[in-house]
């Protein structure tokens, strides 16, 4: 196994533990925005999609790349926007501010 691959595994395991720590503190009332926000973050695969679309050669590679960028962008843009729309609605009792 290459050193880069091993360091990738290290990063993955540590990040998963960070995720468990951080996310276990999210209250149930925010679980839907958590899910849609996390979903938008999983759209980070857009990085791979852009590389695939941008440097691929041939028609078939271009089709795959285009579909990958499109799907990932739907995920990123839609996910962050809809999360913002939801979070905007969560308000405290007026007067308690």
């Amino acid at each position: 196994m290459s050193a880069a691959f091993v360091s990738g595994i290290v990063v993955f395991v540590l990040a998963a533990f960070v995720g468990l720590e951080v996310i276990s503190k999210v209250p149930p009332t925010l679980h839907t925005p958590l899910m849609s926000g996390a979903n938008a973050i999983s759209g980070i695969t857009i990085v791979g999609a852009i590389i695939a679309a941008g440097v691929g050669e041939g028609t078939f590679a271009a089709v795959l790349g285009f579909l990958a960028v499109t799907a990932a962008t739907i995920n990123v843009v839609g996910g962050f926007l809809v999360t913002d729309r939801m979070l905007e609605m969560f308000k405290k009792k007026p007067g308690k501010r």
């Binding site: 993955f12 958590l34 926000g37 980070i44 695969t45 941008g54 499109t70 839609g78």
Partner: protein
């Protein structure tokens, strides 16, 4: 070959280690963003931080690679951005579960496509470890894609919400999973691009067959699990292209989805395996005998009087509230009661609705302040001091059998102890049993009033009757 995009390696334009550090910065913003989701006060800022991280990652990627096909990239960004924005802006809050299911699916398919493009670029000539992560990206991404769109169909009603059980379904799924593993081994050993495509095909079928037998009320678990999968698929794609931002972002989402999955399963007192494989709620045998036990039917006036003279009222919403779009009517009723000096709070069971936190979003949309939204642990100690509990479209999560009847299929499931309140008002279309097909003794208690009606119409008629109290 992986060397083009080595983690922590020289970048194409010779900027040394700056690019990996910028990706790391993006990942740090994801973590900070998720951390700020721990309070409704900071959550919106957190989401913006995370989207800022994403913007950094995208810009770095566009600059740092010798992109030749700008047309393809920009077309994908524009088409995807437009579709995503339209979906996000237009979706009704009641339809949020199916939108999240669809977004999970898009994330999964994007990761699978990234792996496919890598196969195309390299003619499937991979080191063994890269072959393994390519196969994992393909399999997990494809299952997430097809499974999410079956979940989407069940949630928006285009597929039946009831579990669809195929004969020998479990065996077929197990064989498909084994087949996917076997074909993956072949693909990696033989550097065979076609074999990788077969993995995709098997995984797509497996995703459909795995979600089809799962009923509507179990969707909170399924969506959470698919959410986790979309993250893991992204992390695997990160290994394929050796990019730390994908690995970290994907691992975070994988962890988030897994926590939610476990919490949802716990809230139903079931294991994840039981949710996925039992076909719970499939119609078995005849309808549940409700016997000739008498129930007390209530009129809008009865309910209005009970509520008006109460000191503490707790509203318990369920999926029926979302179906009836009754959240605004409920808020209007609560405002009338608060003007009379009645305390109104809302008790929300973790699996009320079709996804984690579904009810909270609907009530927030209707301007209910979040500090009035109580979870299971906060609300249960209060029911003893509550004068009236108003249940709208919830059933199994308030079924006392879960606490008292050891023979009940839902025995042991944590419930909202609404029967400890002085008066319980249940708004429900009919006496039909809930999703689990179990009769609810709550309906026959002396202190329970049944109001048979659509949720929204019922609340509006109570609002009308309030004027006469």
């Amino acid at each position: 070959m992986m060397t083009d995009f080595l983690l922590l390696a020289q970048t194409n334009n010779g900027e040394g280690t700056l690019t990996p550090l910028l990706y790391l910065g993006a990942a740090v913003l994801f973590i900070l963003g998720l951390k700020q989701l721990s309070s409704p006060r900071t959550a919106r800022r957190g989401n913006m931080l995370a989207s800022g991280g994403m913007l950094i990652a995208i810009v770095v990627t566009l600059i740092d690679n010798d992109i030749t096909n700008w047309g393809t990239v920009i077309a994908g960004l524009l088409v995807g951005g437009t579709i995503g924005a339209l979906l996000a802006i237009r979706v009704k809050m009641t339809s949020m579960p199916e939108l999240v299911a669809a977004f999970n699916g898009f994330g999964g398919v994007a990761s699978a496509l990234v792996a496919l493009a890598e196969i195309e670029r390299t003619d499937a000539l991979f080191e063994i470890e890269t072959g393994v992560v390519v196969a994992l990206s393909l399999a997990i991404g494809s299952i997430t894609f097809s499974g999410s769109f079956v979940a989407f169909g069940k949630l928006n009603g285009s597929l039946p919400g009831q579990p669809i059980l195929l004969p020998g379904g479990k065996i077929i799924n197990a064989l498909l999973a084994l087949g996917a593993v076997a074909v993956s081994v072949w693909a990696i050993a033989a550097d065979d691009a076609v074999a990788y495509w077969i993995v995709v095909a098997i995984a797509l079928v497996l995703g459909v067959l795995a979600v089809i037998p799962i009923g509507g009320a179990d969707m909170p678990v399924v969506i959470s699990l698919l959410n986790s999968f979309s993250g893991v698929a992204a992390a695997m794609a990160g290994f394929v292209i050796s990019n730390s931002a994908l690995i970290i972002g994907g691992a975070l989402v994988g962890a988030a989805g897994m926590i939610l999955t476990l919490q949802m399963a716990e809230a139903m007192n079931r294991t994840i395996a039981n949710v996925l494989f039992s076909g719970f709620g499939a119609v078995t045998g005849g309808p549940v005998s409700t016997g000739d036990k008498p129930v007390k039917s209530a009129t809008p006036d009865d309910v209005a009087i009970a509520l008006s003279y109460a000191e503490n009222v707790i509203v318990v919403p369920g999926y029926g509230l979302a179906v009836a779009q009754a959240q605004h009517a409920v808020r209007e009723l609560a405002t009338l009661l608060e003007e009379k000096g009645v305390n109104v709070d809302y008790a929300i069971h973790p699996v009320a609705g079709r996804m984690p936190g579904h009810m909270n979003v609907l009530l927030a949309e209707a301007d209910v302040p979040y500090d009035q939204l109580l979870d299971l642990d906060q609300s249960n100690p209060r029911f003893g001091q509550t004068d009236v509990v108003l249940i709208i479209g919830a059933n199994d999560v308030v079924n006392p059998s879960a606490r008292e009847d050891e023979t009940s299929p839902i025995y042991g499931m944590p419930i909202l102890d609404v029967d400890y309140a002085s008066t319980v008002v249940v708004i429900k279309r009919s006496l039909s049993p809930g999703f689990a097909g179990i009769d609810n003794p709550l309906f026959y208690l002396d202190n329970t009033m049944m109001f048979f009606s659509d949720g929204k119409a019922a609340v509006e008629s109570v609002i009308g009757a309030m004027a006469n109290v």
